[in-house]
Symmetry: C2
Subunit: 350 residues, 2 copies
């Protein structure tokens, strides 16, 4: 395992995307999102995705010269047409518009259409929470969740985030996929020849299984409840955007030259119109302190609140660097053919 | 089991509350909510609660002469002080204000403070969806969910609703408690001497159990995910309202003379500012048709979408009546001492 300086890695990520013909402001949004996500320990959605992103630029899925348009259709609602740019840039612009509306009118919601993968959904909700708003973000994704009672996947692992500003620390952030397990964990178990911790995957007959070899889909988190939440995310994203939904969405890692027309939903609600923002932050601080100090079953495993594991990771990795394993390293190596860029990549080692 | 006419039962509910000194418009809101909830098959939150509500009027928890105040603090945010009236009335007024803001400015959110139990959370989100809005409602409740890794309950079964208007049928409505199981199911299993379907209750040591005799709390739906969602509901309700949170909230069935200062959150977002409302409704109709027609494991158990069981119940009960068992009947009998009211109750039999 090699460890990389997050600052240098971010510069490298920007330079690599610019080298592929992506405009610098868009490359910056992608890099900011990927590095923050890697620092927060969410490796599946972090910098390891860069080689994939390079491939979808080269294959034409990503539009290098997008005409990004924002239509604000009321004081607090708007639609952003991403024109097939990187979802990170589109959703970042969208959340800025939502914050602006929320500052002026109390709330703001933007639907992003004709977008692409936008990495960790938390990144967008967090931006609003850092501006003292309730941050909300949602994105649908590759069909993967087997509907309750059903045999086959319909919705994706559809992600939903709520983030709230807190006194003396980064926002409290619930960022959840609506499946109980991430598909990555199935793939990892398969690669290692292990069985899953619990029967949270679905085989070809719609039955639960802990055998990753048989897995063809995922169980919703909380059974029918997660299935319902995935539908909520699908409606907020695909249906409000008028885009493809569920199994009609092109899978992320298939047909790389096809546009996906993926949709996102972001929102901001102004807390200070309900309660003094300092009182709110202090109450939240008090509540999470009570939770963290409450009796745990195992004294070595304290009660956490949403986002705690990511905060712990961020602290460590900011200091010690972002780890990338051999597999990811070789993916970079085989994708980035420019010699000076690979030199730059290697200079990011700590 | 006796079956009651929902129309007559509603009149009876209003008359009973008015007899206890409740103003008629408030009694109407309570009755509308309870009857709709019973028709939808959610018996735990339906008309069976009326005797409890009568007790909390008599004990002084419910303020018979409330000074309900709404402060709109921005174009799209407001706080409603319920002054300890029935939560059903307070949340109904709040959602009307949210819809009004949403019609004019695109969104509207109202926090309700100093409230009381408001029965089924779905009732409020549905009102917004029937006006072609995205309806959102949330309420916190009696501390009951054992935090992930923790030993004791902190949050309640905190409920979250999203509702969307649909072509040719009532809105699609996800109404979920954030625990996997309802406490009522634990009580029912206990009364019948049965074990629970799965280990979704928590004993006094924080360990999961399927023995209702040992149950002292409930497992979050989707484990840490439901625990996170319960926190989101708690923040949207108690923290935005500046009210008591988690274990600081007086339990529903204890200290009946104490005010609870419970909080709710309701919202409406105007769909037509994102997409033509008819296109939206048609897409939703298409999507749920695909889901309902998708292959199910057991051909006798088709794939459903959120709210389908409630719609099926509503259709049957509107025709055949609302069933009330002996236990509920005797609770009515012992609480309602007025002879003519009990005569009226009996005349609701079908």
């Amino acid at each position: 395992m090699n460890y990389f300086s997050h600052k240098k890695l971010k510069e490298f990520c920007i330079d690599t995307l610019v080298h592929e013909g992506i405009a610098e402001p868009i490359a910056e949004d992608v890099a900011s999102c990927l590095i923050e996500t890697s620092l927060r320990g969410v490796d599946s959605h972090g910098i390891r995705l860069l080689p994939h992103y390079i491939r979808v630029v080269r294959s034409g899925r990503i539009n290098k010269k997008p005409n990004i348009k924002f239509n604000q259709n009321s004081k607090t609602n708007g639609v952003l047409d991403a024109d097939n740019t990187f979802g990170h840039a589109a959703a970042s612009i969208a959340v800025k518009e939502a914050i602006k509306m929320s500052e002026e009118f109390g709330s703001g919601f933007v639907v992003v259409k004709n977008s692409t993968h936008n990495s960790a959904n938390a990144y967008y909700g967090l931006q609003a929470a850092r501006k003292d708003m309730i941050g909300i973000s949602a994105t649908h994704s590759t069909s993967m969740m087997v509907s309750t009672r059903g045999k086959k996947p319909f919705f994706g692992t559809n992600a939903l985030t709520f983030a709230f500003p807190c006194k003396d620390e980064e926002p409290i952030c619930l960022d959840m996929a609506t499946t109980q397990l991430a598909w990555n964990k199935v793939l990892r178990a398969k690669a290692k020849g292990e069985i899953l911790d619990a029967p949270w995957a679905i085989d070809g007959h719609g039955e639960v299984t802990d055998n990753p070899e048989l897995a063809q889909g995922l169980v919703p988190a909380g059974l029918h409840k997660g299935y319902g939440l995935a539908m909520v995310v699908e409606v907020l994203c695909a249906l409000l955007a008028g885009g493809p939904y569920g199994p009609h969405l092109t899978p992320m890692f298939e047909k790389l030259s096809e546009k996906r027309h993926i949709s996102h939903f972001v929102g901001a609600i102004n807390i200070s119109n309900f309660i003094d923002i300092n009182i709110f932050k202090e109450s939240l601080n008090n509540m999470i302190s009570e939770l963290r100090n409450s009796d745990s079953i195992d004294p070595n495993l304290p009660v956490l609140v949403a986002g705690d594991p990511e905060k712990i990771s961020e602290k460590i990795r900011t200091k010690e660097g972002i780890p990338l394993d051999e597999e990811v390293f070789s993916d970079f190596n085989s994708t980035i053919t420019d010699h000076s860029l690979m030199q730059q990549f290697k200079s990011c080692f700590i």
